[in-house]
Amino acid sequence: MRIELKKFGEILVSRPSGREAYLAMSAYTTQDASENEPIEIDFSGIKVLTPSWADEVIIPLTKKFKNITLLNTENSSVKATLKTLREYSDLKI
């Protein structure tokens, strides 16, 4: 299953919008997926990502699913955010 983050906007910055995005994808996208299903999180098309938004989406996804791959992480704010999450939010991928 691929989750295209650009479907939630190209500027992903606040915690409330991150929380809302996670609730929406839990209800409409990942609701039938098992914990072992391969999940691809696709960052293509994202211009601005912050640790606050990602903390509300990426971290809960990594707790719920065991087989996650991150795709198209070239954007500078995506790279910097993932670095911060690995350092301060125990992101392991």
Binding site: I11, S14, V48, N75, A80, T81, T84
Partner: protein, 192 residues
């Protein structure tokens, strides 16, 4: 700290004005998070159109701006001392300057809720930039200012951050000094 241009003067005036003079129709005042988000979107697209700084820096500085501005709303929601919302302005001439300010509780009062032993603005500011700590415990937060600090350094930008009587200046390193004029809330100036 010294005031160096018109935008900084406007931010200081907004921070120190009586409450009834802060809520006027104003292109810099963002009463709600939605207004801030819309103006952040506009800044991003203006900077991308002008191409005066690299795309890489534009995305990073927009993310840092989003973190600092949203921090003001996250930590003062329902507890604004007088005026809700933030001042958000930017100018592009020889350099890009972005100013964010709020009239909230400030870093010390926010962090004292989870670390009551903090006694000064300067120690609180140092804690905010160096420790993974959040005034909204038990929620797991507190990585925003660390993100800002690391990217100020890696992208060779400058940040002045004032709260209470403490002023942090960040570039390659971080220096915190005490200043004479106490600022209620927070003031951040990013330059590159």
């Amino acid at each position: 700290m010294s005031i160096e241009n018109k935008l900084e003067k406007l931010a200081f005036e907004w921070l120190t004005a009586s409450p009834e003079k802060t809520q006027m129709e104003n292109e810099y005042y963002c009463q709600t998070r939605d207004i801030f988000q819309a103006r952040l979107d506009r800044m991003l697209h203006e900077l991308l159109r002008e191409k005066s700084i690299s795309e890489e820096d534009i995305y990073i500085v927009s993310a840092m701006t989003g973190e600092i501005g949203n921090n003001s709303f996250d930590h003062n929601l329902g507890k604004w001392p007088d005026v809700p919302g933030i001042f958000f302005g930017y100018s592009v001439s020889e350099k890009l300057e972005i100013i964010l300010a709020d009239r909230g509780q400030g870093i010390l009062a926010t962090l004292q809720k989870v670390k009551p032993e903090l006694q000064s603005d300067s120690v609180a500011l140092e804690t905010a930039f160096l420790e993974r700590i959040s005034g909204r415990a038990p929620e797991r937060r507190g990585n925003g200012l660390k993100f800002v600090k690391e990217n100020i350094k890696s992208q060779k930008m400058h940040l002045t951050f004032v709260s209470g009587n403490a002023q942090a200046r960040l570039n390659d390193g971080m220096e915190i000094i005490e200043i004479e004029n106490k600022t209620s809330g927070c003031l951040a100036i990013i330059t590159l």
